[in-house]
């Protein structure tokens, strides 16, 4: 079905056109042209995605749409085509990525107004869209990896968009490098997979068919290595350090890439390889544990941050941990469902935060904001809905998706994970409402002079708010009378869980109560007068400084590496190797000088040299003649 290729190619094509127009004259102000061009292809991709989704919805559940562009590599046993495939998982991912992507494009048209690199921004943005769609639609792991890398590239380009400040460039480099470390594991996993399959074809369906022939230990190793890639891309411990720094990019970038799409690529990968991870439940448990620890860790740090975007970044990391808990424990549909709902409310939160930032002239510290409830009403209401959703309050989307994950953890008897996840849920409610109260309710520290927000920034917020409110209804579980349309649509190989409806109601109520307690605490501390709580707690400085992880990494990894580089650069290369070469050259010079001494232009010496030669010949002859 050619729509698949078009979905991927069109954004790349428009990125190219935008780049050419931009490069032709970078300084000319052509904002309207860029905006129009940039918006065309996401809209077309959205429409085509919906067409694909409808097609798949009305067909039996194992229909897979294919489209091959061309043969890419054909070397010996390695046979890779540039092909696209769409099954139901793809359809789900496509729909929300293109839809939210289009909304954020509209938002960015308003947000980036007045910026000198307007055209450049939309080039990169479209490039990102194309890359993400390539990743989703890929038919085999290699093409997915191409998309994976391209997304990392777009992320780097967009984080470092405000390149005049060097710390932004550092953040971009950090993101790219940490991503790269994850990609190393990913490549190792893919190579191992290719080796053990012994050339039986390399698309996802081919791998799925032959997965039984691989021994379990090797499979666990491959699964672990692939998860390292996911760790890097989706910011889990220990490869998460790039995500808070990535907030240096413009807010639409944070909204699209670091909330809704790129960071979910890791989760998508695990879901795509569900046929592999099903076979290795121990690795799945390890993944779930990593997810749980990351979730709790990020929630703790977020509770003490005061930069609005950093709070949301840590919140993203925390929610990603939830998704990994789900896919780790075999509940692939729940994981993807949480990806789906999270995309809505997280994108909304970031866009709202961006609106607040623009309104307050690029102020990002929440403790300098306050009382914006009345003036930014149309930002406040969507953000309230999103905050309610992320805290897991019914009937908003987050309740259904998050609680499905908690139920899974409890039902499969992973009580530590369940406890950590519940604690994280409570903290999530706390810090999200802390953010809401401080920004919108508490008394302002100073008079605010608000910039007028363009409608292109506020209208998408409303659309997403409706989405956050209602998306949850797609996945209502049986306990509440729904038929879990989402899971049945996806038809992923979920591990079946058996749990009493009573227990389910009990657990969900516990969650809601804990969430309300947290909201109440936040209200008490922040709603009237915002101030830093728990000032005197000694552990506070540890948490505020993010547990000094960045500094730890710097000492353990970065400084030795730099030292090694310096040794290689200045000592070994400059001194040793250069001197070796000079030694050779100098050696030649010296020996030549030595020989030059013999040429002293005195005839007597030359006669002596002749005599020496003749003498040696005589000695040789005498020896040969046998009578010395």
């Amino acid at each position: 079905m050619i729509a698949l290729s078009l979905i991927v190619i069109l954004p790349f094509f428009s990125a190219l056109i935008l780049a050419l127009i931009y490069l032709q004259n970078p300084t000319k102000n052509r904002e309207k042209l860029y905006a129009k061009l940039a918006l065309v292809t996401p809209i077309i991709s959205t429409i085509l995605s919906f067409v694909v989704a409808v097609q798949l919805f009305s067909s039996p559940h194992d229909l897979i749409l294919h489209h091959t562009l061309f043969n890419w590599i054909d070397v010996g046993e390695l046979h890779i085509e540039l092909a696209f495939m769409a099954d139901r998982l793809t359809a789900v991912m496509l729909s929300f990525i293109t839809f939210i992507g289009t909304l954020i494009h509209i938002y960015a048209i308003g947000y980036m107004r007045g910026d000198a690199g307007y055209g450049k921004f939309f080039t990169y943005f479209n490039l990102f869209m194309g890359s993400m769609l390539l990743l989703i639609l890929a038919d085999n792991p290699i093409i997915m990896f191409v998309g994976w890398e391209l997304v990392g590239l777009s992320s780097y380009l967009l984080i470092g968009f405000y390149h005049q400040e060097s710390q932004n460039i550092t953040a971009a480099n950090k993101a790219f490098m940490v991503n790269r470390i994850g990609d190393f594991g990913f490549i190792m996993g893919l190579s191992l997979l290719f080796v053990v399959l012994e050339g039986n074809g390399y698309s996802f369906s081919a791998i799925e068919q032959h997965i039984d022939s691989v021994d379990r230990g090797m499979l666990a190793l491959i699964g672990g290595l692939l998860f390292i890639g996911a760790m890097g891309k989706s910011a889990q411990i220990p490869l998460y350090v790039w995500l808070p720094d990535a907030m240096a990019g413009p807010t639409p970038v944070s909204a699209l890439i670091h909330a809704a799409t790129m960071v979910t690529a890791g989760v998508y990968m695990v879901a795509r390889f569900s046929f592999l991870y099903i076979e290795i439940p121990q690795m799945g448990e390890a993944i779930a544990l990593v997810g749980a620890i990351s979730a709790l860790f990020a929630a703790i740090i977020a509770s003490f941050q005061d930069d609005i975007k950093k709070i949301l970044a840590y919140s993203t990391m925390s929610q990603l941990g939830y998704m990994f808990i789900a896919v780790g424990l075999g509940a692939y549909s729940s994981g993807i469902f949480h990806v789906f709902t999270h995309a809505f409310f997280k994108a909304l939160l970031f866009m709202g935060a961006g609106a607040v930032i623009i309104a307050l002239h690029h102020e990002q510290n929440i403790f300098r904001m306050g009382g914006l409830k009345k003036e930014l009403k149309w930002v406040y209401i969507p953000m309230l809905i999103a905050t309610l959703a992320i805290s897991g309050i019914p009937p908003f989307a987050g309740f259904f998706s998050k609680d499905a994950i908690l139920i899974t953890a409890f039902a499969t008897e992973h009580y530590t994970i369940w406890a950590m996840a519940t604690a994280t849920a409570m903290l999530t409610a706390y810090y999200m409402f802390r953010l809401l109260f401080v920004v919108f309710h508490s008394a302002p520290k100073s008079e605010h002079n608000l910039t007028k927000l363009p409608s292109s920034m506020t209208k998408p917020l409303i659309v997403l708010a409706i989405g956050s409110a209602t998306a949850g209804l797609l996945g209502v579980g049986e306990a509440y009378g729904g038929t879990n349309l989402f899971a049945s649509f996806l038809a992923l190989p979920d591990t079946p869980i058996h749990i009493e409806h009573q227990t389910e109601y009990l657990l969900d109520s516990i969650n809601i109560i804990l969430a309300f307690i947290a909201i109440f605490i936040a209200y008490k501390l922040f709603a009237k007068h915002s101030k830093y709580p728990l000032q005197t707690l000694p552990i506070r400085s540890l948490i505020v400084n993010k547990f000094f992880i960045d500094e730890l990494y710097s000492i353990i990894f970065i400084k030795p590496l730099l030292l090694l580089s310096r040794i290689f650069g200045y000592v070994i290369d400059e001194k040793i190797i250069n001197n070796l070469i000079f030694l050779t050259v100098g050696g030649y010079h010296k020996s030549a000088t030595l020989f030059a001494v013999l040429q002293n232009s005195k005839v007597r010496y030359y006669a002596l040299y002749i005599l020496i030669g003749v003498s040696l010949i005589s000695i040789t002859l005498l020896k040969l003649l046998g009578d010395l």
């Binding site: 003498s615 005589s618 005498l622």
Partner: protein, 184 residues
């Protein structure tokens, strides 16, 4: 017996003269030692029965070569400061002796393998008549060639030995134009 003692004496003078020749610092002493050696050599020729060469050796080698050498030495009249100061003379001689020994041994051994010994000579051996007969019977071409050689040597000696003032004149002509420029 007589022959051996004569041989011994002549050999003594020969070798002694040669060694003295290469050892003396003053040039004249070397030349005189060479004279002694040449005379002894002539005696050797006589001992070997070749009366003509005995005479020829004295006439040419002593009468021409040594006399000419002495003449040149005395004409040049080099003072002591113009003589080369040879501080390491004996070390050089020693070193060269060590180098030359294998060559000498090789030559001697080559000669010894010929296994030749003296026989009774025929009548008129070594006389002028026998020399003349052989010379003009088989060796005419070398004889003529030698005469050309002598001519060439004469011409060459005259050409080499010209006074420097001739060359100086050439220099004068070469730099004439340059001198004109310097003057004006």
């Amino acid at each position: 017996m007589l022959e051996n003692s004569i041989f011994g004496m002549l050999a003594l003078f020969l070798v002694g003269g040669s060694v003295a020749m290469i050892s003396f610092k003053e040039t004249i002493y070397s030349a005189f030692s060479f004279l002694v050696a040449m005379l002894a050599l002539a005696g050797m020729f006589a001992l070997l029965g070749n009366s003509f060469l005995f005479l020829a050796q004295i006439m040419v080698s002593v009468g021409a070569v040594v006399v000419l050498t002495l003449m040149v030495i005395l004409t040049i009249n080099a003072q002591d400061e113009n003589h080369p100061q040879e501080p390491y003379k004996f070390r050089w001689i020693l070193f060269t002796t060590v180098l030359v020994t294998p060559i000498a041994v090789l030559i001697y051994k080559a000669l010894v393998t010929l296994h030749l010994h003296f026989e009774k000579t025929k009548e008129g051996y070594g006389s002028l008549k026998a020399m003349g007969e052989t010379l003009f019977a088989s060796w005419v071409l070398p004889f003529e060639a030698i005469s050309v050689l002598l001519l060439a040597a004469m011409v060459g000696a005259i050409a080499i030995g010209r006074k420097e003032s001739y060359f100086k004149k050439q220099e004068y002509f070469d730099n004439y134009d340059k001198k004109k420029e310097d003057a004006s």
